[in-house]
Symmetry: C2
Subunit: 424 residues, 2 copies
């Protein structure tokens, strides 16, 4: 029996975030000899926390520059930490990217570079390719974010419009020894997708990028389509010799965080069931499937006996049609509420492990069986809020937002559904 | 190890259908004294098979009339079996409904009526309410079927436009002893939803029906909106005395069929995992979640260890945008194929237990890991087929349709995903 379901769900979320935090996971992956001189570069929502963890555990001289999202910075002693815009790149990001390219462009095989990558790095490390203005790149980015495209598709396009992504940063570092430490926020943990893979080979092509723009009917500027039709827009392909001295290590993944939450569930005497670390799809529909599984567990003790917690990660998407506020986790939870309609014994939380759901001020939201009746009392209509993509507004009115501020890590979405026995 | 994955999945589907077949499940629910005189009425895809099973096990005089879908009929000795149109009602359905209402309208408390209900009964037992033409009802029905509305929503509207549904048939039978035997094809097995609940109370209201028409922007004829604003359009509400002599028994459910398939999986030494018997949502998005779970099982042996079979039921929906062919199971499997992209070790089947996927000639389809490469060889593009809602065309070209003809029962969708160990 869980005495405080909401607090329990929040504990699970915190355990998931903690398991992915650079302060917990970076040190063990550093080379045994930590005495050499190293240059540090990096980008992502975890960049500042990764730089700080590196400083604390590295013994030799360090210098360098990383970029993180606005309000995600931390004071470091040796490494410069700058901030830039996410998810839509800005001038600050471009300036940092130019400086980073400059830092690594004339190194020798005796030099060591640490590249610290995490989710968000794709937008933050933004250096448009030859002939493409930042405004043109921003226009394409904004359109993609609204289109319902998967993150892997958005990143394919971004990589081919960039002077730094798709392995181009590794190419600039060559022939230095390059160690990339990455925190995965992408389904499947593919290194070429995390932060758009600036230090790894890219299997996608310019032609793929053109296909994605077409598929989502993105009205791209002429400079963009011209560049994508230019062979120079191709990224660094597998087996390119410039990748010889490049080493890639995943230091945190969505699955590790789900496992940490599952271990906590188990320690409290309940059964955890991790559905998947990589669920994609339209948030509101993904929620219907989660709701059906939760109801089934309560009614038939399948696919898992109660009391239990169903846990899932990944990255759902929202095709925006309304004018409301809210990220994909708020949308998920609103649809879950609208499907469960106050079903007894089912509690849920959905939040982004980076602490920011979409472009809102909350990490996510939570719900209990009485969310439905409380919403009705307040005159809130879940169906209408969902039509308006207003998950934030719905849960804000109920006082059911989860606000953490930036967590300075990012292993994507975290969803947990607590299901009590039928007699509870 | 499963030697013939496709055949194994077909066996599971057959077991699910078999477990819901009237010949298997009706007899045990008949009253102990089977010697009296009884009148038989009924409607649905299983109506003929239910009538036949009743004839075989009842010992007293029987007479009556049931209606089933075209091509779902069976020759009975004592009970007349007629056919009508589904999912869009026609004149034949209306004539049967009028005759059935006539059969039960002047009975006494000494009479016994058996009412045999199954999925499809809603369209087949079609008698428009006062002042509404069949054409008007058909127009609303067609619009609803294309709108993406849930079956429960479609049935709410249908009940309020009917002279026979929403408890009105039970009202006509009163004061006779009425025994309803039903096969559930609806998520949650709610008797008021199965075949639009002609013999049970209806908790929904005319105002709900108006709300649904509005939500899906159905352009309803004036006769329809006028009738729904007339208090006479209200259905029979709970605790109405006309329901006193009415008894309702579920003789088959989706869950029983999923359990039968699960038992067969277990008997072969694999682990079954029943996700839910009542999954709703947009087919293509529901497929993405199933794909993520399957991939996760293969990679992490969560939420279930391999080799395993993930089984689910319910009724997904398709918001038709393209011009292709295919029911919701073809759409589900096409999206699954498009997400898995030939992932090794994963085999799947999705089919409607009634033998007809949507309004096509197939029950469903199957896929294997080489479906992806075979499709590519044939120049088929899964993404484009999905955009065109052409699951039927895609799997027909591959020779991967499942064609059973009418099964004469209906416990809704059946999905099974076989996942082998990573080294298989």
């Amino acid at each position: 029996m869980v005495e405080h379901p909401k607090e329990f769900l929040l504990e699970l979320f915190n355990a998931a975030v903690e398991a992915a935090h650079p302060a917990q996971v970076l040190a063990e992956h550093l080379p045994q000899d930590r005495s050499g001189r190293a240059i540090v570069i990096g980008a992502g929502k975890a960049a500042a926390a990764m730089a700080k963890a590196l400083e604390e555990h590295w013994e030799g001289p360090l210098s360098g520059l990383v970029v993180t999202r606005y309000e995600h910075g931390l004071q470091c002693d040796l490494i410069e930490v700058l901030e830039a815009a996410h998810p839509v790149p800005d001038d600050a990001g471009r300036e940092v990217a130019e400086r980073i390219m400059g830092l690594v462009s004339s190194l020798s095989a005796e030099d060591t570079v640490f590249c610290l990558l995490s989710g968000g790095g794709s937008s933050l490390l933004s250096l448009p390719a030859e002939g493409i203005s930042l405004a043109d790149k921003q226009q394409v980015n904004r359109a993609l974010l609204k289109s319902g495209a998967a993150i892997s598709e958005m990143n394919c396009v971004r990589k081919h419009l960039s002077a730094i992504k798709g392995g181009r940063l590794a190419k600039a570092c060559w022939p230095a020894q390059l160690h990339t430490f990455a925190i995965s926020d992408v389904p499947g943990d593919d290194p070429s997708v995390i932060a758009s893979g600036p230090t790894v080979a890219d299997p996608t092509t310019s032609s793929d990028a053109l296909g994605i723009l077409c598929k989502y009917q993105i009205d791209a500027p002429a400079s963009v389509t011209e560049w994508l039709n230019n062979p120079a827009s191709e990224t660094v392909k597998p087996h390119d010799p410039v990748l010889e001295n490049s080493h890639f290590t995943l230091i945190a993944t969505p699955q590790q965080s789900l496992e940490a939450a599952a271990a906590l569930v188990r320690s409290k005497g309940l059964t955890p069931m991790v559905l998947s670390d990589s669920i994609e799809g339209e948030s509101r529909e993904v929620a219907k499937v989660h709701a059906a599984i939760a109801v089934h567990a309560r009614k038939y003790r399948q696919p898992v006996g109660t009391p239990c917690v169903i846990i899932s990660g990944g990255e759902t998407s929202v095709t925006v049609k309304g004018n409301g506020r809210g990220g994909r986790n708020a949308e998920f939870l609103l649809s879950l509420a609208n499907t469960l309609k106050g079903e007894q014994g089912i509690y849920a939380l959905a939040a982004d492990t980076d602490g920011i759901d979409g472009s809102e001020t909350n990490a996510g939201c939570w719900l209990t069986p009485d969310t439905w009746s409380r919403a009705e009392q307040l005159g809130l209509n879940a169906e209408a809020s969902l039509e308006d993509n207003d998950g934030f507004g719905f849960f804000e009115a109920l006082g059911q937002l989860i606000v953490t501020g930036p967590t300075r890590t990012n292993v994507n979405d975290f969803r947990a559904i607590l299901i009590l026995n039928e007699d509870q």
